[in-house]
């Protein structure tokens, strides 16, 4: 059974990360819609469900970071809601990426430090007195 506290931590970690991923995709593609975003995320190795993605898009839209418009495919079919970065969203993306990269770098230094300590401790255990 999964620890509920772990699930909550995972969900919180994932929420901000996915928002960043969606903003990055939209920056790269200029605009995209739900199903396409889902495929891109999936191809990147991120398993995201519709029930996570659509509320996330709505949240970013309500925050004013995304703009949206409806387009009907040329060959007919159901209209698609395309999202793109708003001016506010574009301004937010650079500091978000910088924060993420700084955090990742700090974390890697921390992990390397921990690994080095662990390695020293193991060596000390293995060395006979």
């Amino acid at each position: 059974m999964i620890d509920p506290a772990f699930e909550k931590w995972q969900s919180q970690l994932r929420k901000g990360f996915l928002e960043l991923c969606v903003l990055v995709i939209l920056e790269e593609r200029r605009q995209s819609y739900g199903l396409e975003l889902l495929h891109v995320l999936e191809q990147s190795g991120l398993d995201v469900r519709e029930g996570t993605l659509y509320p996330l898009l709505n949240r970013l839209h309500k925050s004013g970071w995304l703009e949206s418009n409806w387009e009907t495919p040329v060959d007919g079919g159901h209209p698609r809601r395309f999202y793109k970065l708003s001016a506010v969203g574009k301004n937010q993306l650079a500091p978000m990426l910088a924060t993420y990269q700084a955090n990742t770098a700090s974390f890697e230094r921390l992990v390397q430090g921990s690994l080095a300590s662990l390695s020293r401790a193991l060596e000390a255990q293995e060395t006979p007195p």
Partner: protein, 261 residues
Amino acid sequence: MTGPEYIAALKKALRGLDRKTRDDVVLEIEGHIAALSEDNLSLIDRFGTPEALAGQYVEQQSGVDRQTKSLGQRVAGLGKGVLILIGSVTVLLVAGITLIVYSFDGDDFDYANQAAPELSATAEGWESRPWTGPVEINAQQAQIVLYWHGQDSLRWHCDGRQFNVGGRSMEVRHAHCLVFLPHSAASIQAEQSAVTIVRPQADVDIDLDQSRLRLAAGSQAYRFDIESDLSDVADFPNDPSAPLAVTIIARESLVEPYAYE
């Protein structure tokens, strides 16, 4: 749970949202479901239950509302002013609805008489389009009368300038329309409009905002599911075993049986 069942449940669960957000969410999810290829994942696996999915949107909306409210209170120091404003808006709203309802009264045509020559196939001004599958009708400040006929087509006669029949829906604004629907489920959204429905022959999902709905059921039995908010809704005889369902969500609206006056 099938796509239409999921969408119907989602619509119901999203009723706490403002109309535009709700329409956008439903259309977006509906489009996604329509584009899905067959695989082992159910809609619940993908989206979660309709209630859980809707809950996320409603929670986000509440967050936005709370932010807006606290900002407003800080800026304006609201208190008595808010109450006065709400009171004024309510009075204006009631006056508006009364005016709309009054303006749609006084019609001497018996809408429940489907044998009327005005409704015959050869009458001038009628248009028709082949149609299968569900129909969406969106009415804004319009008067619309809906019938069902046993054909795979949508047939209509409109007076007014703004009406448009698209791929899956009919938009009616500032117009008066008589419409014959095919034998498929219908979804009707009405805002500040008068809608008359004559003996539905398929499931109907009706969403009313500051509107008047009149339903001529005749001897037909229906499963009624009615939710209302600040509305005046008449009692309709609900038959749980009836094959056809009529779902109504009414906000600041009037819902009553249709009788030729």
